[in-house]
Symmetry: C2
Subunit: 403 residues, 2 copies
């Protein structure tokens, strides 16, 4: 079924997604995204000490995080994590079969899996799926690929940005999946970004690491970092621009476009966070150091009490101040200023209840997007974290889900 295009919009890529029976629902569960030839690739993976077999495989073929790659094969419904040596052989078999069908080397095929932990993949189904997906590769099946990587996601997440670099139009496009177990610490659950830019693999990797720091690494649904986080960036070179070094104006333009795609995908993950009804942006400024700014913002973004208060549309600045104060980031309540949306709710060590328009603030909090800004007054560092509210629905999803 043809649908909207995104990851095949940059020239030089094809994609497909099929249902091969890994998901009991019968929904699509196997995707291939491939370049027309081996292209520049960069990857970042989870910092969890327990990693899935696909992550081990990807690190083996791209030990420095960049190199030349032809394709990514992805299944959903089973993450192939904690499956021992047999699981690693399964990941390798996925790469080998895909490589054979695309007429390349297994070392040129990245693998990603997402879903339940601890079960062996049903390889007969996977083999049929890879075969069918390779047969249906096309420039019009982007949505199939995107649907095939989803698990508890309710919404499809994609982003496209175009820019001019060296006189050529360059397109950057991405897809992502992720909804729970989201506190990425290198990348999100699974995301593939394509571009037609001509760029060397090392520079591509540098840009990816820069873009991830303030997008995927700045989001949290539930503070739980997955074992399977994988973000792949492929650059086909089809835009035919002249290659450029890092720190050049062209690099900065590409980085800006890449950041925009990463931000959009990261925000989409939060908006689709398990049980989420609101996206919450927590800005910290005036921190003593960059590390302090990040720690303070994430301490608020991960506070269950804060997230419940926002769910209940309650301007409970006390919980924000508590979350800042419990963190290891330096805080001085006398210098702290907290805003919820348009209203300054805390300053000079005290709440400002009665001094702001409560009706206006209530209306603001009833919306689906809330911004909290904490000015620490101690320095110049800043950081923004994205999170969602904590609802009964999160519990329902995660208590009623059974292994």
């Amino acid at each position: 079924m043809p649908g909207i295009r995104h990851i095949t919009l940059p020239a030089g890529f094809s994609a497909s997604g099929v249902a091969c029976g890994i998901k009991s629902s019968g929904k699509k569960d196997l995707a291939i995204i491939t370049a027309d030839r081996n292209v520049a690739a960069a990857i970042v993976t989870t910092t969890n000490q327990v990693v899935g077999a696909p992550v081990i495989w990807d690190r083996q073929i791209l030990p420095k995080g960049s190199g030349k790659v032809r394709a990514v094969v992805i299944n959903s419904g089973n993450s192939n994590v904690c499956t021992g040596k047999a699981g690693l052989k399964d990941a390798e078999a996925m790469a080998t079969q895909t490589a054979r069908l695309l007429d390349t080397d297994p070392q040129k095929v990245l693998v990603a899996s997402t879903g339940i932990i601890g079960k062996r993949l049903e390889m007969s189904k996977i083999r049929e799926g890879i075969s069918a997906a390779a047969d249906s590769l096309s420039k019009r099946r982007d949505s199939d690929a995107l649907q095939a990587i989803m698990t508890t996601d309710l919404k499809e997440k994609s982003a496209v940005v175009q820019t001019r670099i060296g006189g050529k139009t360059v397109t950057v496009a991405g897809i992502a999946k992720g909804s729970g177990m989201i506190a990425p610490s290198m990348a999100t659950m699974i995301s593939v970004i394509t571009t037609d830019l001509a760029i060397c693999p090392r520079t591509l990797h540098k840009a990816l690491k820069e873009a991830v720091g303030e997008s995927f690494n700045a989001i949290t649904v539930d503070s739980d970092t997955s074992t399977s986080d994988t973000l792949v960036l492929l650059a086909s070179g089809a835009a035919d621009n002249k290659k450029f070094p890092p720190a050049s104006p062209q690099y900065r333009k590409f980085l800006a476009a890449l950041k925009e795609v990463c931000h959009e995908l990261a925000r989409a993950i939060i908006a689709d966070g398990e049980g989420a009804t609101k996206v919450i942006k927590v800005n910290v400024s005036g921190a003593k150091s960059a590390g302090d700014a990040e720690i303070a913002a994430k301490s608020v973004a991960n506070s269950p009490l804060f997230k419940c208060a926002i769910h209940g549309c309650d301007p409970n600045w006390g919980r924000i101040v508590v979350a800042l104060g419990k963190s290891s980031a330096k805080i001085d309540p006398e210098k702290l200023r907290v805003k919820i949306g348009p209203a300054t709710v805390f300053s000079a060590g005290r709440g400002r209840d009665g001094k702001f328009d409560e009706k206006k603030l209530s209306k603001y909090l009833a919306g689906d997007s809330v911004e909290v800004s904490c000015s620490l007054g101690l320095g110049k560092a800043r950081y923004s974290a994205l999170t969602c509210d904590l609802s009964r629905e999160y519990i329902t999803i995660n208590a009623d889900y059974h292994t």
Copy 2:
């Protein structure tokens, strides 16, 4: 109304609790616990950088955490936090009035407050409450005092332990309140422990710090550390034992009794955690260092996904392994062994699904007490953390509660 005795069981103490109108429910909200004369006292308070006015007051009068004290005056319903200089004056006024009525110095009266953040205390009500509480001090009103310190608590939390020290019977008894915003990092929300032991203040403080490390500091309901955590230990000396130095057998006996009281109170707080239906003990052993053991245990105990799984009676070892792996504590999946209750569910890098009695485990998980044991296989350090499950009720309590 007379009730069961606990904190006045050690000789030399009286207590009372009254309703003075701080709580809109009309329930008791002001307590005094007093010794017959100035006695040895030790205190530990929150590590949150934002602290309530009562904590500031208590630190002023016991700058080293120990000294001589007559009484503690406590109100619930309003925590007197983020109330500026005026709030500090209110705390001082509570101590001054209580001291006058007990015929001692304000510097001998500790103050604690718990409840809403950011509102000034209604001091006319507090003054009437202190007056009424001082008038009704008795050896039979322990339950009144306990009820008067409760906020969202559903259950009364008290503990009594007796031991023989130097040929004398020594009693250690405590009360505590706390249910949400529980991740103590020095002490719990509010707890008062009394003993008739004769002991010097510095030794008392040493024992308190030792006991807190593996009891109150090892519990978490929601990872949010309060601004008001205060634990006071008063020793009347009425048991008339010979004083002893730290590291003596007598010290160790007292410490054991004190730890038992702290453990019982800490466990009671978890059992009454907001929305809790189960108490979960997370044991980590075989860690490389004591720090690693604590970090690993708390990473599991604070994982929302793990807490939801236990709420749903799901033996989801994947979420335990994920929570261990995301922490900064050193983990090697190949050496890791995870037990849920009686069943080994993970070893040698793999789940053991199908290799344990699932029916038996389901029955175990349906109970109100669950133990998870993680053997890291990397060293000898161990730590146990206590937490509760995460339920829809937690969200209801914390999203529908309005400031």
